[in-house]
Amino acid sequence: MPNIGSYEERIKNFDWSISEKELGYQQGDVINIGWYCSDRICEMGNGDRLALLWENAMGEEKRYTYNDIRVYSNTIGAFLRSLGIKNEDRVCLFMDKVPELYIGLLGILKIGAVAQPLFSAFGDESLFVRLENAGTSAIITQRKHALKVRKIIDRLPNLKHIIIVDHDGKKELKEREVAFSMEANRVDKLELFPTKAESPSLLHYTSGTTGMPKGVQHVHYSLISQYLTAKWVLDITKNDIYWCTADPGWVTGTSYGIIAPWALGVTQCVLDAGFSAEAWYRFIQKYKVTVWYSAPTAIRSLMKAGDAIVRQFDLSSLRHLISVGEPLNAEAVVWSEKVFGLPFHDSYWQTETGSIMISNYPGMKIKPGSMGKPFPGITGTIVHPQTYEPVNETGVIGLIAFRPGWPAMMRTYWRNEETYKGKFKNGWYLPGDRARLDSDGYFWFIGRDDDVINTAGHLVSPFEVESALLEHPAVAESAVVSKPDEINMEVVKAFVTLKPGFSVSEELELEIMNFIRKKLSPLAMPQEIEYIDPLPKTRSGKIMRRLLHAKEWGEEIGDTSTLEND
C-alpha cells in the first residue's frame, strides 16, 4: 500500500495539519528547516542512519550520517556567524553538486539567513544580476567558480565574503576571499536562530518574459508542503534509497533534493558528474536506488541510448519512478514501463509553488502523457485566459490556476511586489502555463502562456538572451525564441541582424554562441543562429517574436496587421 493510501479518500479528508502533526509542529512554534532536516532526525534516534551517499565523476565516494550533517551544518552556520552573517542576510551557494552544497544549505538556514542557490554553470553576467538583485552578503563556492566571482566583485559592494570550500593553499586568496573546510572542525552545538513559519528561507531565481530574473521568496513553513508531497507523491519511506537527479541550483534540487528527503529521514544519493546512460545505470545498481526522481530530458536521453544497455545492469532495486520539469511525453512513460517494469509518474509544479501541485500518484491509474490530478488540499482548475473564470467544459484549453494558500507558496518576488501581485487574477494564482482537463479530472499540458523558453526543464528568458546578444560587437538587433528539440523539448534559437562591417560566417556564429554560453549559461546559448535583416517588427518598432516562434514551430502566423512594411 503506498503512503498516500487512496487518493480519492485523501481528497475528501485533507488538511495540512496532517503534515504539521507528523512533524510535531504547532502554530506559533519555532520552525527551522535546517533543524528539521538534521537535529530532529538525530533526536528521533536515527543519527547513525546514512543521510547522504555521494560520488563524483572520478568515482570518489563519501558517506555522511544524519549526525554528520547535523554537525557539519552547525560548523557552516557557526563559521558564517563568525563572519558577521546574521538572520535574513542572503548567502549564495554556487557550487557543483558537492556535499558542502547540500549541507551548507542547512547551515545557512540554521542561523536564520536566507539561502540563495545558483546553478554553478551560470556565467559571470547571470551570476552578477542575481547577486546584485538579492544584495547578497556572502557566497560559498569552489575555487574554479571563484574565478567568475572575481570578474564581477568590483560591481558588488554588498558581497563581503567569498567562501572557498576547496582552497588548497597553492594560490593566494584574493580580495574578500576566505578559505573554509567543513570537515576540518566539528561544531557539536549551535544556537539555532528561532525562525517562525513566515521567516524567509530560500531565494530562488527564475526567468520571466520581460525584465531581469525574479527572486522567488520562500519561507520555513514551506516544509509542511514539501514533507507531505514527498511522502505521498514520491512515496518515500524510511528504508528507501532515494535519488533526485536535479541540481540544487534549481528548485527541484532543493525542495526534493535536500529538504524533503532529509526531513523524512531517508538516505539519499548524489552523483556529481555529467550525464551518461551507463554511469546513471551503474549508479542505480551500485547504491540500490529504490525511488528515482528525474526529468523528461534525462529520460529521453536514456531512451536514445537504447534498451540493450539497460539489460547490462541490475536495476531490480527500483520501485517507484517520478518525473518533473517539463511535460513527460506518453512514449517515455510506455518505454519506462517496458524497460524498468515501472512507469515514470509525471509531476507538475514550479519555482513559485515550492512543492508539487499536480501529479500522477502511486496506486492511481496513469494516463501516459497527462500531468495527473491536483495534490490533496490543492484547488486547481483551468480558467479562461481573458475572464479568469473556471472553464467548466472538458477539453477546452485555458490557463492553469490554483487557489492560493498552500504552505510552500512563494510569499513574494524579492523587491518586486508589483510583479508578484500580477500573478493573481480573480482570486487565482496563475503559474503561466496552458492546459486542458479531461472528463476524469486529469490535466493535460499544452504549453507556456508567454515567451519563456523551457529547455530541459529550466526556464530561459528570451529578454535576458537578447540583451546579452546586443553586447556582442557584431550584433545590431536580436530576437530569441524557442525551437523544438527531440531531447530537451525546446532549445534557444536566436535571430540577429549584424552591424555594418560584419558579415555572416560560421566562425561568427560559433563566436556568438560561445559568447552567450560564457556570459549567461550553456542553457541560454543559442543552439542555432539565423541572420535576418530586417527583423519583423510592428509599426511601433517592437520586434514580433510571435512570428519567429510560429515559423520555428510550423504554426499559423496569425494576425499580421500590425507588421511593419515587409
Binding site: 558528474a273 555529467g274 550525464f275 551518461s276 541510448a305 554562441m513 554560453r517 546559448m525 543552439q527
Partner: protein
Amino acid sequence: MEDLKDVILEYVIAEYASEDDKLTYDTPLISGGLVDSFSMVSLKRFLEVKYKISIPDEDASPEAFDSVNKIADLVKRFTG
C-alpha cells in the same frame, strides 16, 4: 593524428576547462561533467567549422564526445 588531437584538446581547455583542470586525451569530458550536453553543441559546431565537415546528430552522442581521443576518431570518420 596528434595534430588533430592537440587542436581539439587546446580548444576544450580554452573554452570549457578551468585553470585547475588537468586534461589529457582520455579525460572524460561529458560523463566527467566538464562539457554538458548544451555546450556539446558548440563543440560540435567548432569541429564542423574547423574541419569543414557535417556531423549528423545521430553520430553526435555524449559517448562519441566523451574524450579528445573519441572526438578525434569521430572527426576522422568524416574527414576520410
